[in-house]
């Protein structure tokens, strides 16, 4: 092990990495009663990394041209060695990310971790959520299947309900009067470069906010105290806490392993779960297939648009809800974070989730 030690010394003398290790990893202390929900952020980072790797691999064979896109995906699925694996990892991985993202958001909501001057953490997270949905939407078009084409047609068409600018906005999103090669071009550029770049930046900002302010104390147990707010910046420390690395990191690693196992389980045991028949037909602008549905995480939005007599009301309600969610830390100002002491919040929380599930199921079967 002599050469390894020598190399470590060589680097450390020049860059002082041990210092960083001591202060930021080993010396980064988490609350003693930190729970498993706090691993979801790390899970998301791992899943995004996987998405980037598989995405780069797919890019080597994918052709962003409406004449060739579908065939290139078929080629990847059938002819490139292990192409099917990377394609499935990427497509189903996006769904698993959405699951993890919702779990992460719901857990920080439940623990009210957005409180205690964590508005920026919440806001960056919220933008990340929307951007990820944007990535899913733009990525959905790329295979140029019937599903891609018509889901994108319907999704962009919804913008038409906005008064005055609606019609122009629809064309602007599509880059033309209908979904076509121009749409594929812009969606492709956004999906593989634009949005991932912004997302990486936002993830950095999100992490910075989390670390700078200090991770929150889980609002459970007899020792929990409502922290008093001082009139100046303060890093929330946990002097008696446990080191993030390696003590808590091993738990992050465990949950990451389970998530990847879950992703693989879908790929090998239920590969058709997220692929309706229209996903295997080449896009045909002259033939709308029956039963076009958006992906499961957009079903709620799709169904609210249908429930209301006019689309503009539906859009308005969606907008209002999303704005409310984005501004939640500014609206919900109380210092109390313990769910047991916030019956109204918990009731709304549970009803909200039930409503989301119910509307989605309704959307799926309607």
């Amino acid at each position: 092990m002599q050469p390894v030690k020598w190399l470590v010394e060589f680097v450390d003398v020049r860059l002082g990495l041990k210092d960083i290790y001591d202060s930021e990893l080993r010396g980064y202390l988490l609350p003693r009663n930190v729970n498993v929900w706090y691993t979801l952020g790390a899970v998301l980072m791992a899943l995004f990394t996987l998405q980037i790797i598989t995405g780069i691999l797919l890019l080597m064979f994918y052709v962003p041209d409406s004449e060739k896109a579908f065939a290139s995906i078929q080629y990847i699925m059938n002819d490139v060695p292990f192409g099917w694996l990377f394609r499935m990892l990427h497509a189903i991985g996006a769904n698993v990310i959405m699951i993890a993202l919702l779990m992460h958001m719901l857990s920080v909501l439940f623990m009210a971790s957005y409180k205690g001057r964590r508005e920026f953490t919440w806001l960056t997270g919220f933008i990340i959520l929307n951007l990820t949905m944007g990535l899913c939407l733009t990525g959905y078009l790329l295979p140029w299947s019937q599903l891609s084409f018509w889901a994108t047609t319907v999704a962009t068409d919804a913008a038409g309900a906005i008064p005055v600018v609606g019609d122009y906005l629809v064309e602007f999103l599509r880059g033309g009067p209908t979904v076509g090669n121009q749409t594929l071009g812009r969606f492709f550029a956004l999906h593989v470069v634009g949005m991932p770049l912004v997302l990486l930046g936002l993830m950095g900002a999100h992490l910075f906010c989390v670390k700078r302010r200090g991770i929150s104390n889980p609002p459970f147990g007899p020792d929990y105290r409502v922290a008093e707010e001082l009139p100046f910046f303060e890093h929330e420390k946990h002097p008696n806490g446990i080191p993030f690395f390696p003590n808590y990191f091993v738990k992050d690693a465990a949950v990451i392993c389970f998530f990847i196992a879950f992703l693989l389980a879908i790929i090998f045991y239920a590969p058709g779960m997220f692929f309706p028949e229209s996903a295997f037909q080449r896009a045909d602008p002259f033939l709308t297939p029956p039963h076009i549905k958006p992906e499961w995480y957009f079903l709620w939005a799709y169904q609210t648009l249908k429930i209301f007599p006019s689309e503009i009301i539906g859009l308005g309600i969606q907008g209002a809800f999303m704005t409310f969610l984005a501004l939640l830390p500014f609206i919900d100002r109380g210092a109390e974070r313990r769910p047991a002491k916030r019956p109204l919040f918990v009731t709304c929380y549970v009803l909200g989730i039930l409503l989301f599930v119910a509307i989605s199921i309704w959307g799926h079967y309607s």
Binding site: L57, M60, V80, P81, F82, G83, L85, F86
Partner: protein
């Protein structure tokens, strides 16, 4: 029951295990990536290429693809056919046929080859690689 072994020792053992599992997982993940990136077999790999005899005109050069790489066929004397790899033996540019001079010249660093592929000048270290040609009716079979 595990409490018999003190935690630090237990961790040491478990980390060794993780090291092993990690190596296994890494290898099993790297293999598909390696296969995914492996070069595709050259088109028509290993097979003969057939060219109509009429394409190879005396004094002119006919370029074609042979096992994924550029090659050239000539008819230096009537009824005599030769085929060569068109890849310059210096640094891999594709040689050009100069009809007037009756020789190949490499556009990259000025290498010169005879119609038979012998080096006439410039940096190329060895002749152009010759390919076997058989005349079969009105077809030239190469390779």
């Amino acid at each position: 029951m595990t409490t018999q072994v003190p935690p630090p020792q237990r961790r040491k053992f478990l980390f060794t295990m993780i090291g092993g599992l990690g190596a296994l997982l890494a290898a099993a993940s790297a293999w598909p990536v390696f296969r995914f990136l492996s070069p595709v077999a050259a088109r028509g790999g290993g097979e003969q290429v057939a060219i109509p005899r009429s394409e190879v005109v005396s004094g002119k050069a006919h370029f074609f693809e042979y096992r994924g790489k550029p090659a050239v066929a000539l008819q230096p004397d009537p009824g005599k056919f030769i085929a060569l790899s068109a890849v310059c033996t210096h640094l891999g540019c594709v040689v050009a046929w100069k009809e007037q001079a009756g020789e190949f010249q490499c556009p990259c660093h000025g290498g010169r080859f005879s119609a038979e592929g012998q080096v006439l000048g410039g940096p190329p270290p060895k002749p152009l690689e010759p390919l076997a040609v058989v005349l079969d009716g009105d077809q030239l079979k190469i390779g």
